[in-house]
Symmetry: C2
Subunit: 730 residues, 2 copies
Amino acid sequence: MIDKVKLTGHFTLPAQKGMDEEVKMLIEKWGVDAIRDSDGTALSPEILSMGPDIYSTICLIRVDQEWAKAHPDQCQQKFLMSFPITAEQDGELIIPIQKGYSREQFRIDAIHDPKKYWEVIDRTTGGVVPVDQWEFDEKHEDVIIQTAKKRHVYTVNFLVFQIWETTSMYNYITNNWSGEHQMGVDPHQPETGVHLLDYLDGWLKDHPQTDYVRFTSMMYQFPLIKGENRETLYLDWSGYLDAMSALALDQFEQKFGYRLRSEDIVDQGYYCSTDRVPKKPYQDWMTFTQEFVRDYTKQCVNKVHDAGKKAILFFCDHWIGTEPYLDGFDELGFDGIVGPCLSGVELRRISDVPGEMIKEVRLYPYFFEVNLQDEPVFKGNGVPVKECKKWWKGVRRALLRNCVDRIGFGGYLDLAIKYPDFLEYVGVLANEFRTVLDRTKKTKPYVISKKVAVLDCWGKARSWMHNDNWPKGHVPEFLSGFGADVVFINFDDIRQNGIPDDIGVIVNWGSADSAWSGGLHWKGPIILESIRDWVAHGGGFIGVDAPTAHEYQGRYFQLSNVLGVEKEIGHRAAWSKNICPSVETKHFILEDVTDKIDLNVAASSVHINSPDSELLAGAPDAVHLSTHSYGKGRAVYFSDYLLSAQNMRLLHRAILWASNLENELHKWFTSNIHTDCAFYPEVEEFIVMNNYEQDKETTIYSGDGKSSNISLGPMEMKWFKLTELNEILK
Amino acid sequence: MIDKVKLTGHFTLPAQKGMDEEVKMLIEKWGVDAIRDSDGTALSPEILSMGPDIYSTICLIRVDQEWAKAHPDQCQQKFLMSFPITAEQDGELIIPIQKGYSREQFRIDAIHDPKKYWEVIDRTTGGVVPVDQWEFDEKHEDVIIQTAKKRHVYTVNFLVFQIWETTSMYNYITNNWSGEHQMGVDPHQPETGVHLLDYLDGWLKDHPQTDYVRFTSMMYQFPLIKGENRETLYLDWSGYLDAMSALALDQFEQKFGYRLRSEDIVDQGYYCSTDRVPKKPYQDWMTFTQEFVRDYTKQCVNKVHDAGKKAILFFCDHWIGTEPYLDGFDELGFDGIVGPCLSGVELRRISDVPGEMIKEVRLYPYFFEVNLQDEPVFKGNGVPVKECKKWWKGVRRALLRNCVDRIGFGGYLDLAIKYPDFLEYVGVLANEFRTVLDRTKKTKPYVISKKVAVLDCWGKARSWMHNDNWPKGHVPEFLSGFGADVVFINFDDIRQNGIPDDIGVIVNWGSADSAWSGGLHWKGPIILESIRDWVAHGGGFIGVDAPTAHEYQGRYFQLSNVLGVEKEIGHRAAWSKNICPSVETKHFILEDVTDKIDLNVAASSVHINSPDSELLAGAPDAVHLSTHSYGKGRAVYFSDYLLSAQNMRLLHRAILWASNLENELHKWFTSNIHTDCAFYPEVEEFIVMNNYEQDKETTIYSGDGKSSNISLGPMEMKWFKLTELNEILK
């Protein structure tokens, strides 16, 4: 992809009409070599004629509002669950089903037979109310149950049309736009599907100067449900709710041989969120959606290629069904993938995408007045350079592990242009990025000899897609910049393939009975057998929060025999917590600890339950950090985790210790916890980097244990050729 | 029972051989009118001849050690679950079943066929290992499984004889005794049953001077399981494990028509602790035990009466099966009941026992060197008078609500006699107690017009038997001194009888899925229908911690629609917590708050989920205290609770508010949160009491809203006749 790394280029700028001079200036200052239009802006003929690559954005599902208006029955759909209502008497209960939900965003689907597609559920018993015992009053938008039971709680799962397309709505609300609401149509509807492909043909013809077509994205957005006052009710960055339609339900039945219930999607109101342990029907629904989306996407990409242009996927917004970590993503033919990126996790989410293609990240801050936390950035007392540094620090750390091809920004240039110190800093940042590219040639850095496996219900499909403590960062944020190969596995991977030999440690974390810790998957023997056996033979296991948690057969942590700790949830209250080791102060994991260990634990009810456990922080009946040996293997338990320099080193050492790789600590290592380093054997380049905004001293270690003391300026990235390095090592 | 209240008497002293002069002195100073022997002491002829009533203690099950030695197969039994062991390979697994458990306390029962009574369970699958796949190696005390599966965890439920009687063991260990261990025999064994009744006949003849026979208690102790190093592994003050025997299992089958499994008692190693939601087989086992114990107890009591003496039950130690709150307790014929008492709850546990009998409490500190927390009291730097005041304060508060007939102390007089200030203080305390008796004549104080109902799985049978935060106190400790009638109900009470009209508020608390909050009982309609309906018609509901918690149909707090709050356990993480009221500072419940509200909440994940909720403390997504209206009724949620003067007033007001009885606040009320008051209409007496060790001012209110300012000295109890009071009220 990258023919020649140069210290200019690899930078995409959001241009804006009427700012030609500013754009020219930034082409120089930032090394801009590609220009994109943002949603709601368009490029001027003058900029188009300036030479850089032109990225043009298209969002097919809302590109033709006339079509949408003419075909309201082909808008996208969704199941909603009406807010629970309690019957105050036996008999008739009137449920205003849309109450609480946005009327701007949703319109009840009165076209498709409610009795066929909807369900009315008694949430006090879990029973479905028979269809002959309720009616839909279309005029009043009520469901009327004739046989409600007094004091039972009822909900209705009902289909709606989404009459305000989600991304459009988000931008509209965030930027206080006025004017018409855009609708999103569903390409799954055959007529619309054909129309949009035709439209794309025309659009490609109308954009002769466009080099790259950026799809934002293909069809279905992750669900974002708004309430009556435009407040966000529900948001799941990986959810599949928005691919719904009456048509899809019917087709699903033909394909999978059973009918999907509304409740399979509504899921008691949890809406199958990514935090929930996924069940078979929902997984089938995902597969069904993926198959359609991919097929249609391939047709779109082919058209782009046929027009002599390249196709890029924006890995955000309407990305559902085109997950780049699902097998076969590279077969879709995309030439590149772009994603928003404010952390190491988000960097790796793009850079680790399998397949040869341009990987590009959109850095933060977006040139919007406020940030994602709604704090001022490009307005009032906002300090965009500070905001930028804050995120870049984490991104940069991950960049050393797997670099992307391009960076860029998004938003409105007229906002950014008013902050000269920001313009300067982005120039520095761009050169830091290009230096990584230039020095490393995108070769792979040295990693420890074993892999780190993250185990949850999603595995590879949701690689680098954990939102734990976003944007503050959690375990995956640490991993994004850690010098080890990281793989994401799910429980079926273990059931089918066991645990590969090249894995050094399995990490499992999350709240109890969630998709992240695994819930029900910890009940039943195969997973437990496999992991116990693998650890006993020398494997490592790191648990954070409620690892392996599922109350069964007298245990809460199902791998408590491996972890050496157990959580008290009130059932073993009559049992004394008798194993009371004192807190170890000497341990390989603790050797860089200088401050009191603070893992963000509010109250731990985890206790030591093996005489072989070592308590590293907390108390025997309120463990914060502990270790345990199991056969030849080792386990570490963290009762919570939050990023800090000290905690990152704790986890770094915990991984090495659990993997039985303590002897690899001082290989390509930097001693100061505020610094990171990487060595690229293929190009014989070494970098040591200061993550702190003050000078730092550190000792660096080469692969053969030689060392040298180094001084680093604030946030400095210091590169050495191996030959240079050898001169100072002793 | 009490013919004449006098300012002397009502006091039981533990006497000791060779301390006749001291006993005489205390008869004067403390008003002693009864003398008891303690375990391990006996009374001298001189004291016996001094006139006071004589209490003599008998513990039938260990009174004849010769018999025990001659009949080791008639010792008490228990099921133990071997500590979980993981098979490291397929095939043979050897489980040393008693490992981890005390060999002083238990001996494996090799007499009764293990294949009939024991179970070997694969805790990884939950499956029972067929009896032909394991053997018991009696010589090595191992169970050998032939067909173990690699990495599965196995346990064995096995029967043991208890070869060291629990109370005896406790005293022996606590007091560093040496000498022979006492065994406890099982009166359920017909031979032993007959023998002990004969023994009792002889004993009664041999104790002509004894007026009261104190049974300590009848047969089966609450379970206390010791480990290899005498450490306490398990302790459940209400458990029924110790009534076990092979014989009982066989008889159970005849009586109930099904065979009890060892696992019904072992319960995955939770041992059916009182914190667990009880299941049918365990409840049947309790019933079975109760029937036998009561029948045998009645025979013992009859013998005492036939000997012209009175019978007293010590409501501690071996009390299992003689719960005084089970229907029919009064039919056993006891003339009195005595219990240890260091709190208001423990006072009410005795004073509320249904039936006409002498109620007596044994106050703290016991005359032992150390207290129950193993801190020095009658030795070293112990300050017994301080210890005594600490507990008396809480006991005294409850005394005003329902007074007992007698107080007393336990332990060894030669320890107490060395502390003159303690001897003085007990004199004061005894007079405070006798003044309550004298003034109130044990009549009932004024209470608010509605009852408080505590709802859990145990109900009436476990009245005042919550050990929440013992000895620091929790909700029931507050209730023990609160001016309302308190009733204890369980879920079956509601299923069968609904909720009586005279209840003002239902209180439900405890950790999730425990016997206290109710767990599975919250699934399914009847309970939910009943409570919702009752609250909607004006009832009150107070939830603390995880009330009504059981994850089902999209809800965690099943009465979240009543409570107006819901707890996030990770399933609704994708849902915004959008209902964000600001913290109310004005509310009836808050009117006496002066300090920051501290309910001992480490981290609350409870959020407001109704727009009608009012947030009184905490944050909308981390509620500490909130209120909600539901129909005509009201609910209050506390995310935790711990006793303090301010928190007691919060709960006091919350009960009135939830019961719609705010207008009753200023009836027989004292304004200062460090004071309590009570009015006894039948005898027209009023008391206001300072719970603080410094002077306090307060305003007292009579039943008709008149008030007066009062000064109280440290810990002062100030009595008024109604006529006196009327003179100062305005």
